[in-house]
Each structure stands twice: as structure tokens, then as C-alpha cells.
């Protein structure tokens, strides 16, 4: 990989990321499937970095999945987003940060639309006043939560207990980074490093001791495709996209996949299970899958947080092989316990994909 050339491109796409006083909005997908990641983001921001992050109890979905499945009109999505901006304004904040990539892309699309068509912004303001009585000031700074972790990656690295190094070989772990499509494919200048060579996850991986794998289908979509996953009859599209990526990356023997979009880790995790059931294929070593992590999980893991506090027990592809490689301790007996330490039973083992669980 010609790193020098990439660095020149990354230098072209630098974005300003606020340093403190964030108004945080949550992700529908993240809350359902990886709630521990959002909890970890706030823990890192508050406990490790001592930053102010505010969440308004009245904020809701931005309606982004409804918009990209085309049941929610653009006019409605813009007004839903305007309401989120109003909550930020009312709370005295101006730095808006989102957990969701679909939301981030939608916010960027809307702000761009308003910049090109001021009369649309004015119309949306009227809709919002009429429907809710609220008004808003546009954010001074818009970031995705992965931008924020990227900004503070050196500070996080400095207090981390572990590095992305294989304890058995002493070599850097080999990492596939997967960027959510709506992070920068629509507006390259809104993402760190642009669309072709986004640097937001690479910066974390390299600063925390790992090496990034360059592979042919690196920029291919995970396959969510909104209606292509949400309607059962269309899921062939979704799994085919993920399969294309797995087959492209597998020869490079990645130790894990790192993602910044809420949907991508879920699909890259679950479709490995589905492919193993459908075709008997597994993409890791010895019948294991390739663990898929969120950037919040990665940061928390290296900071020494308990993997079960991070929510790693709700991955279908087990993460224990990765924890073992780094030398991170964990108590497998506690993996499926309640907060009070009571048993919740345990998930069934898949037919082919190896699944660590206590006996």
C-alpha cells in the first residue's frame, strides 16, 4: 500500500471536529443491537476525557431509515432533523454529534440542501414552528461520534492498558476497517480522509498498535440497502454484498473487522452466521468467524473495560479469540448473566460457526 499517496489525499479531506460540549443523539440500530457501544462512548467521553456530553430525553429518531426506505418524505425528514436541532438550541449547545451514520449522512444532506436552497430551510422552519412551536440555530459543528473518538485517539491510546499486538507473536494485529457508506460517500468533505481513503478508523487502528489490511472490496457496502434488508424477500441482496466482502478479505487473514456505522457491524456479524448455516462457510481460522467490533468497543477493550460491560456477549461471532490474542482477561462464566449475576441461560450454538460459551 502506497501510504505516502494516501496521506496526501487524507490531508485534502481534513474536517474540523469540536473539542467539547457535545449535544449527542442516539442511533436506532445501535440502541437495538449494540447498546453497550453507546454506553461506552459516553463513559470514555466523561470518565477518560472529562468532556461534556449532553443527551436530551425528548430527542427521537431522525427518521433516517424511514427516509431511505422512502416511506418518509424528504420534507418530513428535514423537519424531524430541524426538531433535533431545536432541542440542541434550547439546551444551549452548538456542537452536534450523532451515533448513527445514516443520521450523520442525512444531517449533512439536509444542511447542504439548505445551503443551496435557502427557501427550503425557511419552509422547514415554518413547518417546525407550526407543528411544535420550536425554532433552531443550525449546529456550528457536525460530527459523527467516530470523528470524536478519532480526534482524541492519542489521549485514549495514552491511557490504554492494551495495544493491538498479538501477544503470541509480538506482531501488530491485522485489521479490516469498514466505513459506513453514508459517512462520506455522498459528501467526501464531511468525513475525515474523504470517501476513497477515509482515515477515521485507520487513525485509531494505527495509533493503537494495529495494521490496516488493504483488500479489493474494501469500500463495498455491507449490504444493508435499507429496503433490501428490511423486507425478507430482498435479503439475498444484503447477504450477497457481505459475502463478497468476506471472500475478498479472508485471504488476508484479518484478526478482526472494525466499523463506524451502527448497521454494518450487525450485518457483518450476523451474515457470517447465516452463511455458515446456508453453506457451511466460516471465514476465520478453524471454524471461527472474523470478530466484528464497533470503534467504541475497540476503545473500551483497549482501555481495559470488562468485555461484558461493553456488550461483546451479544455478538453472534464470538470475540474471545481476539481477546485471547491480545491477552485481555475475561470471565467466561459471567458472559450471559444479568446485572445481578443471575443466569439467563445461554444462546444455542450455531451448526458450524464455533461459539464460545460456558458449559
Amino acid at each position: 500500500m502506497n501510504i505516502e499517496g494516501k496521506r496526501n489525499i487524507w490531508a485534502t479531506y481534513q474536517k474540523e471536529i469540536a473539542g467539547d460540549r457535545f449535544f449527542y443523539v442516539r442511533s436506532c440500530v445501535r440502541q437495538n443491537f449494540f447498546p453497550g457501544s453507546e454506553k461506552t462512548f459516553l463513559r470514555i467521553m466523561k470518565e477518560e476525557l472529562k468532556k461534556e456530553v449532553f443527551e436530551h430525553a425528548a430527542h427521537t429518531t431522525c427518521s433516517g431509515i424511514g427516509y431511505h426506505t422512502d416511506v418518509v418524505p424528504f420534507e418530513t425528514a428535514m423537519t424531524m432533523v430541524a426538531r433535533q436541532f431545536a432541542l440542541m438550541t434550547e439546551s444551549g449547545y452548538e456542537n452536534f454529534t450523532t451515533s448513527c451514520i445514516t443520521s450523520f449522512g442525512l444531517y449533512a444532506e439536509i444542511l447542504e440542501t439548505w445551503a443551496h436552497f435557502p427557501e427550503v430551510e425557511e419552509r422547514i422552519r415554518q413547518h417546525l414552528i407550526k407543528a411544535t412551536g420550536r425554532t433552531f440555530i443550525k449546529p456550528a459543528n457536525l460530527s459523527h461520534a467516530s470523528d470524536v473518538i478519532f480526534k482524541f485517539r492519542k489521549e485514549i491510546g495514552a491511557v490504554s492498558k492494551f495495544r493491538l499486538v498479538n501477544k503470541y507473536t509480538g506482531k501488530p494485529l491485522q485489521v479490516v476497517e469498514h466505513i459506513g457508506c453514508h459517512y462520506s460517500k455522498m459528501f467526501p468533505n464531511k468525513g475525515v480522509g474523504g470517501a476513497e481513503y477515509p482515515y477515521v478508523l485507520i487513525g485509531m487502528i494505527e495509533d493503537w498498535g494495529g495494521e490496516v489490511i488493504d483488500y479489493p472490496e474494501r469500500r463495498h457496502c455491507c449490504g444493508f440497502g435499507f429496503r433490501q434488508y428490511l423486507v425478507q424477500a430482498n435479503r439475498g441482496y444484503s447477504i450477497a454484498c457481505s459475502k463478497k466482502k468476506f471472500e475478498s478479505m479472508a485471504p488476508y487473514k484479518p484478526d478482526f473487522i472494525l466499523t463506524n456505522c451502527p448497521g454494518c457491524p450487525m450485518f457483518l456479524d450476523r451474515w457470517q452466521y447465516a452463511l455458515s448455516e446456508m453453506e457451511g462457510i466460516t471465514y476465520g481460522e478453524n471454524g471461527l468467524g472474523i470478530p466484528v467490533l464497533t470503534y467504541e468497543e475497540l476503545a473500551g477493550m483497549l482501555l481495559g473495560y470488562d468485555p461484558w460491560d461493553l456488550g461483546m456477549q451479544v455478538h453472534q461471532v464470538p470475540v474471545e479469540p481476539l481477546l485471547d490474542k491480545i491477552g485481555i482477561p475475561y470471565d467466561s462464566q459471567r458472559k450471559f448473566l444479568t446485572i445481578d449475576g443471575k443466569s439467563m441461560g445461554q444462546p444455542e450454538s450455531p451448526s458450524f460457526l464455533k461459539f464460545y460459551q460456558h458449559e
Binding site: 453507546e38 424511514g66 416511506v71 418530513t76 424531524m80 424477500a233 450477497a240 450476523r270 444479568t338 446485572i339
Partner: protein, 237 residues
């Protein structure tokens, strides 16, 4: 220039998405949908810039406009600054407004999406909600989701959520006054009207297809549109 083209051109996304296409096919080369379906975004952009209403009407009634995954990979690569993925959103909006969406198998799926994601936004304040993601409708979610779903309250508590409780936090209960605001936004900005049209045109189609449709998800029409592919959409018919 016909009436359908004029209608499309009223949408700011159309103005943003269509400059002048040189038919290079870069969008088709990068498109995940073009790899899977019988689909070429280049052809769609070409039809639109030709401004031929009869071809546009055919498009609005076809499966073709529903194959796109709206990943927007095409936007990055177009050498002329077009956005085929954005044009798809405009075509889908008009197809629903005119009721043309029920003329195609993939278009008819809009009712299933409206009755799930669309209604969850109004009911819960989220596009997705764990109690509604049923393992039997999502076998690909695997045994881990079956286990989570069975123990959802305890799992969410373990992972730090504020599930179904008041105040901020993960999957908190959205206060009724905020859900009321969403409803008023939907009423004011056209979403309620779009929902009404999806329901109305779908009811007529269900009758035509002689499939039962009630107000729930448990009926023959919804089951049919949610699960069926009566032709191979990946090949030219």
C-alpha cells in the same frame, strides 16, 4: 417535456442529482445493486435526461426503481456530479404519490415497510424497536438474537440501557408529548398523506390480487409482499 418530468423536476433532490450524464456507466460499475439485480443506474439517469414521459411512466411502474440500496456509492464516483441514488429517491416518491408503486412486485413491498418502520416511528419514536424485531421474521439474526429477544429487559439492563423507562438513555420511553410532536410533523409535512396513499393503493391492489388484507401484519397480502419473489429479479425477463 412532459408532466411527469416536470413533477420530478420540482424536487430539489432532482435538481441536485441530475446535471448532464455522459453515459459512461461508472455508476453501474460501482453499484452493489447492479451486481445483484437486473439493474443499471446509468439507464435510469439516461431516461430522465431524455425527458420522455412515456419512459418515465414505465420506470415509475417498474421493479427497477426499487432495486437500489441507497448506499450512494454512485455519488462519489460520478465524474459529472450526478447522484443516481438521489434521483431514485425522487422517482420512488412520485411512484407512491401516483399509486404506480403497486404495479411492481418490489414496489408493493412499501406497505410492509410503512406498517413496520413507518408506524414504529410514530408509536415508539424509533425506526426499530426490539420487541418488534421478531426472531421468526429474522432467522438471520441467529440464536444470539433469539436469546436476547427472550430476555430483552434483563439484557438491556445488563448493557446499560434505560429500556422503556423515563429520562434520557438507550431505548428510553419517548414521552407522549414528543410522540405527539412527531405526529404533528408527519401531518404537516406530507408523511401522513403518503401513509394514507400507500394504504389506499395497496388495498385496491390486494383486492385485485384477491389476497386478504386487514389492519395488522397478519394477513395474506402482507405475507405475500414481504416474502415472495414470483420472478427472478436478478435476470433480464
Amino acid at each position: 417535456m412532459g408532466k411527469l418530468y416536470e413533477k420530478l423536476a420540482e424536487d430539489v433532490r432532482f435538481v441536485e442529482g441530475l446535471k448532464a450524464c455522459l453515459n459512461c456507466g461508472t455508476c453501474t460499475a460501482i453499484c452493489p445493486a447492479a451486481e445483484f439485480y437486473n439493474y443499471q443506474p446509468r439507464k435510469i439517469v439516461d431516461i430522465l435526461q431524455n425527458r420522455d414521459d412515456s419512459q418515465i411512466e414505465e420506470l415509475l411502474k417498474s421493479d427497477t426503481i426499487w432495486y437500489c440500496g441507497e448506499c450512494m456509492s454512485c455519488v462519489t464516483r460520478c465524474p459529472r456530479g450526478n447522484a443516481p441514488g438521489l434521483l431514485i429517491t425522487v422517482l420512488r416518491s412520485l411512484s407512491q404519490e401516483l399509486g404506480y408503486f403497486t404495479e411492481s412486485e418490489k414496489g408493493r413491498q412499501q406497505l410492509a415497510i410503512k406498517r413496520t418502520v413507518g408506524e414504529w416511528i410514530l408509536k415508539y419514536g424509533y425506526c426499530l424497536y426490539p420487541s418488534q424485531i421478531l426472531p421468526e421474521m429474522h432467522p438471520e439474526q441467529g440464536p444470539i438474537w433469539e436469546w436476547e429477544h427472550e430476555h430483552i429487559t434483563a439484557v438491556m439492563e445488563r448493557l446499560g440501557a434505560n429500556y422503556m423507562k423515563t429520562g434520557p438513555g438507550i431505548l428510553r420511553k419517548i414521552p407522549q408529548e414528543d410522540l405527539d410532536e412527531i405526529q404533528r410533523i408527519f401531518d404537516e409535512t406530507g408523511a401522513t398523506e403518503r401513509f394514507r396513499k400507500i394504504e389506499e393503493f395497496s388495498a385496491a391492489k390486494a383486492q385485485e390480487m384477491k389476497l386478504g388484507l386487514n389492519e395488522t401484519l397478519d394477513n395474506d397480502y402482507i405475507r405475500h409482499i414481504y416474502t415472495s419473489n414470483t420472478k427472478d429479479h436478478t435476470k433480464e425477463s
